[in-house]
Assembly symmetry: C2
Homo-oligomer: 315 residues x 2
């Protein structure tokens, strides 16, 4: 497949680097201000080196990437809330041109799921978004394989918050101290709000709810509580009882909730560090657990490229 990659951060850059290994070729790439297009296939190293040294992937306008002759648009620009722009417009333009779309960006499928599905219904293109939920963990393809059997999902869907809670519990340290440590390690962003307030986990749960219940949930439908106000004493009390605290997202009975929850200290949901886990309840297959790396450029890019491999051929 010929790919146009929008967004040249960790994920977009890794898609550019790994596409060839999966038998695909990137013919266009754009960051927020520039683009590079080559219908013979771009040289990943040259593009990424140009971005590092000159601050932009190329000398063309972003629009040139959108109008390139690609089969699949890979949307890996940063997640935005509300109207989910500019990601949503990128998705719309690709579908109107009867092209496939693979999203790593959560915005369009969390905030405007019904609009995306309506555009897809009128298009020859297909929309997939495995990378938007749980990074490298194949959550959505597992749900698809279970053919409507999944009745509820829950899990740890944010590695930053999980790292902080794991360290607070293991070392008896306070939130601010561990957050600073996580920022030094690059596990937390300079502005950690999205992760520690539960927004990122909630967006993933909203996407899960949209897929499981084929409905138009948005972030506004989720009850969300973060971990920024969690006192270290709460973790100590939990430990005395053989339990610990994790930021758990839940999609069940038509509701979406994210918040700190008590879980058994050595239980399935108490994954450590930056790991993510998703637990699926099913009608006949019992409970399935899938854990792995929920973030990271190469890991998330591998989910994007797995989606590309699942797409039907285009006429």
């Amino acid at each position: 497949m010929k790919l146009a990659v929008l967004g040249a951060g960790d994920v977009g850059g890794s898609v550019l680097e790994l596409a060839g290994e999966y038998g695909h070729e990137v013919v266009a790439v754009a960051d927020s201000t520039t683009a590079a297009v080559d219908e013979e296939g771009l040289d990943a190293a040259a593009v990424l080196s140009r971005k590092r040294n000159r601050g932009g992937v190329g000398s063309a306008e972003v629009e040139a990437a959108l109008s390139a002759d690609y089969d699949v648009l890979v949307e890996a620009t940063p997640t935005t809330l509300g109207d989910a722009e500019p990601g949503f417009s990128h998705v719309r333009q690709a579908l109107e041109r009867d092209r496939h779309v693979v999203l790593a960006n959560k915005g369009p499928v969390a905030e405007r799921y019904a609009d995306v599905r309506a555009l897809e219904a009128d298009s020859a293109g297909t929309v997939l978004f495995e990378a938007a939920v749980g990074g490298a963990i194949p959550v959505l393809s597992t749900i698809a394989g279970l053919e409507g059997q999944v009745t509820a999902a829950r899990g740890v869907l944010n590695g930053t918050a999980n790292f902080i809670l794991s360290r607070m519990a293991a070392e008896g340290l306070g939130y601010e101290h561990v957050l600073a440590e996580a920022q030094d390690l690059g596990v937390a962003e300079p502005d950690p709000t999205f992760d520690v307030e539960g927004t990122d986990a909630a967006l993933k749960c909203v996407i899960l709810a949209n897929v499981l219940f084929d409905d138009a949930y948005t972030l506004a439908d989720a009850a969300v509580e973060g971990i920024a106000d969690l006192p270290g004493s709460a973790l100590e009390l939990a430990a005395e009882d053989g339990r610990t605290i994790r930021l758990i997202g839940e999609v069940t009975d038509g509701t979406v909730r994210v918040g700190p929850r008590l879980v058994p200290e050595h239980g399935t949901l108490a994954v450590s560090g930056t790991l993510n886990i998703v637990q699926l309840d099913t009608t006949h297959a019992g409970r399935l657990n899938i854990s792995g790396r929920g973030a990271g450029g190469a890991e998330t890019a591998s989910a994007v490229l797995a989606d590309v491999g699942r797409l039907p051929g285009l006429e």
Copy 2:
């Protein structure tokens, strides 16, 4: 799809009961001595009641099920070693008739993988066998979705052995005592050899090796050690060191091994009771863990029916 189900034990019986829920219909079923065929679709309750009361699913010969007009042959007869008969002949007949095959029986894909693939290559039919590895856990479809990225697999692939080891460790009881308890609970067979000697786990690992390395491994290529001779004192020593013992199957670097291994007491591989877990090492997606129910009639049938849903249409 129209299914012919060979084998009317826990798995075959559950496929019969659940097929309708997945939008399929069973037109033939056979146990070891009799068959029932109805091209309009069999009544699951009537067939299973007949089997309970009269000892056979119907009054026709087994051959009548094999020659019925079905789309997919579901092979759920007991696993046999060596020539993998009669399962292998059932697979051959279906493929020669250009029909699809879905296996819960491990024999043909563990012991005669190259023969099965050769028959498939000459057939319009496709062979799938998710249910043969890890019951309800979608191991093979996850591997397929990872598109050649999986470099090694390991895990707990036998619920009976895991139940025995979990109980020995938790209660400080000896092997013979816990085995008797497991037999009372129906978790272990009256003859537990296949499970406790590691044969069942090894067959699953051989299948994984065949899929991962596209090769013709058989049970003879596996180094297999069971748990029947494991003294309770080994578990006590492990516990003093924060570890426990699990029967671990490993497929890595072209070798297949099954044996009792030390694992961290609260680590990912130390699942409890009858749970199974599979850990996949990948080139770009890090390490993935999938755990769930590795056995059970409905659970395994759900994997069979998920495979049926993945099959391409027949001309």
